[in-house]
């Protein structure tokens, strides 16, 4: 979430009413922003990403003014046509086809105002236009530009100008390579066949959105009084909001706004390709009073609801008195529910009573979870300590340290963007984490008998060839089918002390399976993590018809080589049981 620094004096003047320190803090929190800190000069607030219009002193002050009752309804905004045109050509890159622009005159800029404007431009860039991926915003001193202006596509090699902060003329490719902004944002446009540029009537290249302005005509400072402001990008909707937000802020800063006529030669937008910017006419939305009351659990009258909306800066349509007028800078009103939310904020979250409805619903614990809790209790009864480890582990520990081979390695689900080698894969079985615990607890008392029941993931052997064609969605089976990752619950248990041996592990697993009434046998098997001849597979034979039985667990003495890999100096016997499988068998047996 973006944090903005507000000049407190400017903000308080805009808010129109001076509040006590306490009240100010309280109101800032309850309008829906996070107050980070506040002193005599500055207020630092986090603005939620749905309110980019509050990223400046002017925007914040405007919202606050009505919220605290110093004003109500739609905020004033006026503009006059400049008579200028901006031609938007079809030669533009298809990735960057839109532009909107306007003029702000009569600004008395000083260092503070320049800071405010630049902060707004930057914060909008970070949020609304997603680090320039969804649009770029440019500011220019008007006096250096000759209208009409063209926004068009040119081959990168043919684009030559002096970029901001440089003294030497460069072509577009050189800018991508050498200019800091080119390096930072070049990834957005480097694959385009043509790049987008603003060119004025003197054929001067003004800028190359979304990267950089020209040093000659695209640099504002404290002497600037008249601004040309443009927004460009792949999404007309987004850049329109950005431009509206800037226009509203400059207007509140004291500027006079002049509109520019956009002329799109392919006529894909506006009326015949033409429209004036900024268009600050509010959007209309019907107010569903019944819906708002029902969702909030209130019984407010129309007038009250209208009043709350006006408190949040909305206008009320005078003609039918049942439509909200949404300011052109509010990008967050998608649905009736967003009006409802603003009514709730104006009503005050702290003014709602809370109540639990008397609705009878039947509680139900997940059956597998319930089963797992019983199994955990059995292990606690046997004196085991329960561990809780991360699902994210690493391939080295899951495979190499356990002396496993390629086949097991290939089943490990790895992360694409792991931050460290230590945490780069999802655990494929439980024992490696438990051995790590033993290696980290050598100073603690023995015996160290530990267990953990948790989720492990493996690449599914093969995605199901046949898709289910059922017309209902069964998510539980679908997720694995969709992701290609199988997940099971596994129980890992280790017994570690100087006299640990196979018998003790066998006693424990036989006791568990006895309680579950699952007849079983242990057959010898080879497994590289265990001592040869001291490792077996536990096979459960649920009924006589199933002669094969199901392999539900490995059990054995951990190989000294594996212990050495973990730096463990005490013998360990262990087993790992597929809890999901056992649970399924018990359920099928019912």
């Amino acid at each position: 979430m973006p944090t903005v620094t507000l000049n407190r004096a400017v903000f308080e003047k805009l808010a129109g009413k001076k509040l006590t320190e306490e009240k100010l803090k309280d109101r800032i929190a309850l309008i829906g922003t996070d107050l980070e800190s506040m002193d005599e000069k500055e207020i630092h607030v986090e603005v939620f990403p749905n309110r980019p219009d509050m990223l400046s002193e002017q925007g914040f002050g405007r919202a606050f003014k009505t919220f605290i009752g110093a004003a109500k309804g739609l905020h004033e905004f006026k503009s006059t046509p400049s008579g200028y045109k901006l031609f938007v050509e079809s030669s533009l890159p298809k990735e960057w086809p839109y532009a909107v622009a306007f003029i702000a005159r009569g600004l008395k800029l000083d260092a503070e105002k320049v800071r405010e404007i630049i902060q707004l431009q930057e914060k909008l860039g970070m949020t609304l236009t997603r680090k320039r991926k969804k649009g770029g915003i440019g500011l220019y001193p008007l006096e250096k530009i000759k209208f009409p202006i063209r926004f068009k596509g040119i081959e990168p090699k043919k684009i030559r100008f002096v970029p901001l902060g440089f003294t030497k003329e460069m072509n577009a490719l050189e800018i991508l390579e050498h200019h800091p902004k080119g390096k930072e944002y070049g990834h957005i446009c480097k694959s385009w066949k043509v790049f987008s540029v603003f060119v004025d009537d003197n054929n001067e290249i003004m800028s190359m959105p979304p990267l950089i302005n020209s040093n000659t005509v695209g640099k504002i400072d404290e002497s600037t009084t008249e601004l040309f402001v443009e927004g460009t990008g792949p999404d007309l909707n987004v850049i329109t909001y950005a431009i509206n937000i800037i226009a509203a802020s400059l207007y509140d800063m004291g500027a006079k706004i002049d509109t520019i006529e956009m002329v799109y030669d392919d006529k894909k937008v506006g009326k015949d390709g033409k429209f004036d910017v900024p268009d600050m006419a509010p959007r209309k939305m019907k107010i569903d009073y019944e819906y708002i009351n029902r969702m909030l659990g209130l019984s407010l009258g129309k007038k009250e609801i209208n009043g709350f909306l006006e408190q949040m800066g909305f206008g009320i349509d005078k003609t039918d008195n049942a439509a909200a007028l949404i300011p052109a800078y509010r990008a967050d009103i998608l649905h009736q529910a967003d009006l409802m939310e603003d009514v709730a904020i104006a009503y005050g979250y702290d003014n709602f009573t809370s109540e639990i409805p008397k609705v009878a619903t039947i509680a139900e614990e997940d059956a597998e979870d319930n089963f797992i809790r019983h199994v955990s209790d059995i292990f606690v009864g046997l004196g085991f300590t329960e561990a809780n480890t991360y699902h994210i582990s690493n391939k080295n520990e899951l495979v190499n340290k356990m002396d496993l081979g390629e086949k097991d390695a290939s089943q490990v689900v790895e992360l694409a963007n792991a931050l460290t080698e230590d945490y780069n894969a999802i655990r494929s079985w439980m024992l490696p984490n438990l051995l790590r615990i033993l290696s980290e607890n050598k100073h603690n008392e023995f015996p160290q008998n530990i267990f953990e029941i948790g989720l492990v993931a493996r690449k599914a052997d093969k995605r199901k060839e046949e898709k289910t064609n059922a017309d209902t969605i069964n998510i539980s089976s679908l997720t694995t089918e969709e992701t290609g990752v199988e997940e099971f619950k596994r129980l890992g248990a280790v017994i570690c002390h100087n006299n640990a041996d196979f018998t003790q592990a066998k006693q424990v697993i036989e006791y568990l399976l006895k309680l579950l009434q699952l007849p079983n046998e242990i057959v010898p098997v080879g497994h590289p993590s265990f001592v040869p001849g001291r490792v077996g597979r536990v096979i459960v034979k649920q009924n006589k018809n199933n002669k094969e039985g199901k392999k539900v667990a490995f059990i054995g003495e951990i190989h000294p080589k594996v212990l050495a890999n973990f730096g463990i100096e005490t013998p360990v016997v262990a087993f790992e049981l597929n809890v999901s499988e056992v649970f399924e068998m018990l359920n099928n047996g019912k």
């Binding site: 929190a29 309850l30 829906g32 990403p49 997603r130 991926k133 909707n237 969702m295 909030l296 659990g297 649905h335 529910a337 967003d338 709730a344 809370s354 109540e355 639990i356 409805p357 609705v359 009878a360 619903t361 039947i362 509680a363 997940d366 979870d369 606690v380 009864g381 046997l382 300590t385 329960e386 561990a387 991360y390 699902h391 994210i392 689900v413 992360l415 963007n417 931050l419 460290t420 945490y423 999802i426 615990i437 980290e440 603690n444 008392e445 530990i450 989720l455 993931a457 995605r463 289910t468 209902t472 539980s476 679908l478 997720t479 694995t480 969709e482 992701t483 290609g484 990752v485 997940e487």
Partner: protein
């Protein structure tokens, strides 16, 4: 008098408390004090006697002392020479006629070995009591006693005098000259050795003397109650020894659940008590379920590499995977793009199936809520669901960040549900978690309206702690999944901060450190 009877009481209590081993040893202490004597006399093992002495000392009946003594001990040759005289004495004896003798004759006469003769000649020469000369013609050594030798024979050797003592004896009883002599003897093979001995001895304290005087009855006291006693009933003739129940005992530890799981069980209990059904699901999820189904636009920062863990292989999910999900994918695409039939404008962008296919580690358990809605039928309403599960964020591990942690998510799907109910459920939950004061601040999440951050007042430090987010699911979420716009209250709360507070951890990582001592000894999760 009162004092005396108090002391008597005290002594009686002490005597009653005596362990059978103590009862055997204690009466011996007025006659014996050394450990070895006590062992001999009591016929117990040395460790048993030591244990009894230790206990008696704990009861302040005796004081145990330990001395280190230097003892001179006779070796094998020492014993032989003590009986048959030292070889040098015998050598000199064979010369007592004052004539010059062939050395071989002397050896024969003295009945000593060649080696002993060499030693003897060495010693006697040093003492200057014989003369030795070589007869070159006959090629033999000739020896003769001197006057000093005769005198020595009469007076006796210092070494002999030392050997005459009763061994072993303490070195410290010797005078300086005798000590020198002893040292000299220790250098000779197998004669005398000086060993260090630890000698433990007990001496009675005043209290001990009084207790002994009071007398230990011979009556048999019972230490352990045995099966045999109970079977035969002969315990009736016996007296039970009193135990020192204040004596410290060694610690034991039992089996123990991990405290996080104890807390999870408690949280589950709360939701179950409130009539919620449990939701479960996978940790690897398609972005479609984790984000798109929850109306999170595809360019949302949460979907970037630095926030979410993506899966390397299989990196893409198979979506849509069947006819029903094909319909759902279409509905969600249209809802994102223009709102479809939800009454929303949508996000107004081109929704891309490829973005939705990316497999991720779920970033919130809200993904399970979305899947539950997709499964729910209208006839199941009203319905309430909860989940407790692990969620993942691409964070570097440090004291206040984990890359995986626990969330509890709930949804209430009820045509009559409203915002006030949402606040009600949350307040009730936190009250049961030990937080009386809860406040709600406006917030923003892409998938809820009336979004709120839930904060609780810490009962001790009086600071507000942010513990989760809540709201009413947007129509853009509900309509495509459920097929109808019905109020769905939703919340997702983090558990680790509550745990950190409860267990007074300063570092989040302590929760998953799996230090066995910490797990075994942590207080129970009781609220």
């Amino acid at each position: 008098m009162a004092d005396k009877s108090n002391i008597d009481q005290e002594i009686k209590a002490i005597i009653d408390n005596l362990h059978p081993l103590e009862r055997k040893i204690f009466p011996l202490l007025d006659r014996f004090s050394k450990l070895e004597d006590l062992v001999k006399e009591s016929k117990l093992q040395e460790v048993e006697v030591l244990r009894a002495l230790q206990w008696l000392q704990n009861k302040k009946l005796i004081i145990l002392k330990q001395d280190v003594k230097e003892l001179a001990v006779l070796g094998e040759n020492g014993r032989k020479y003590k009986e048959n005289n030292l070889p040098e004495r015998r050598f000199l004896d064979a010369l007592k006629d004052a004539k010059e003798h062939d050395i071989n004759e002397v050896i024969d006469a003295a009945k000593i070995s060649k080696e002993e003769s060499n030693v003897s000649i060495g010693i006697l020469k040093v003492k200057n009591v014989i003369s030795v000369r070589k007869d070159n013609e006959k090629n033999v050594l000739l020896v003769q006693i001197l006057d000093a030798g005769k005198k020595l024979l009469k007076e006796g050797f210092d070494e002999e005098k030392l050997l005459e003592r009763e061994f072993p004896f303490e070195v410290k009883i010797l005078n300086e000259e005798e000590k020198k002599c002893l040292q000299y003897l220790t250098k000779r093979k197998g004669l005398v050795e000086v060993d260090l001995y630890k000698i433990r001895a007990a001496s009675l304290t005043d209290l001990g003397k009084k207790a002994l005087k009071a007398g230990i009855s011979d009556e048999e006291v019972v230490d352990r109650i045995t099966q045999n006693m109970l079977k035969t009933g002969n315990w009736q003739e016996k007296r039970f020894r009193s135990y020192d129940i204040k004596a410290p005992v060694s610690r034991v530890f039992g089996g123990r659940r991990h405290f996080m799981n104890e807390a999870i069980d408690y949280v589950k209990r709360i939701w179950l008590d409130l009539g919620f059904k449990e939701m479960k699901g996978n940790i690897v999820q398609p972005s479609f379920w984790n984000f798109d189904a929850l109306f999170t636009p595809q360019d949302h920062p949460a979907r970037e590499m630095q926030d979410t863990f993506f899966i390397k292989n299989p990196n893409l999910a198979d979506i849509p995977s069947n006819a029903a999900s094909k319909e759902l994918v279409k509905n969600i695409k249209e809802t994102h793009e223009h709102g479809r039939d939800t009454g929303s404008t949508g996000w107004r962008y081109n929704w891309n199936i490829e973005e939705a296919r990316k497999n991720v580690l779920r970033t919130h358990t809200t993904v399970l809520s979305a899947q539950t809605l997709a499964r729910l039928k209208e006839s199941d309403l009203p319905a309430k669901f909860f989940s407790v599960g692990t969620v993942f964020r691409n964070e570097t591990l440090d004291w206040k960040h984990l890359f995986e942690f626990h969330q509890t998510d709930c949804i209430v799907v009820d045509p009559n549900a409203n915002f006030k109910n949402l606040l009600g459920y949350l307040k009730d939950f936190f009250k049961k978690m030990g937080y009386e004061k809860v406040r709600f601040r406006p917030a923003y999440f892409p998938y809820t309206n009336c979004s709120t951050e839930v904060e609780v007042l810490h009962p001790i430090n009086k600071k507000w702690m942010e513990l989760g987010g809540a709201g009413i699911f947007r129509s853009e979420v509900v309509v495509p999944l459920l097929g109808k716009d019905i109020p769905v209250l939703a919340w997702g709360l983090g558990l680790e901060r509550i745990l950190m507070d409860y267990y007074e951890f300063n570092d989040l990582r302590d929760i998953y450190k799996n230090d066995l001592k910490l797990i075994r000894e942590s207080k129970l999760f009781l609220r």
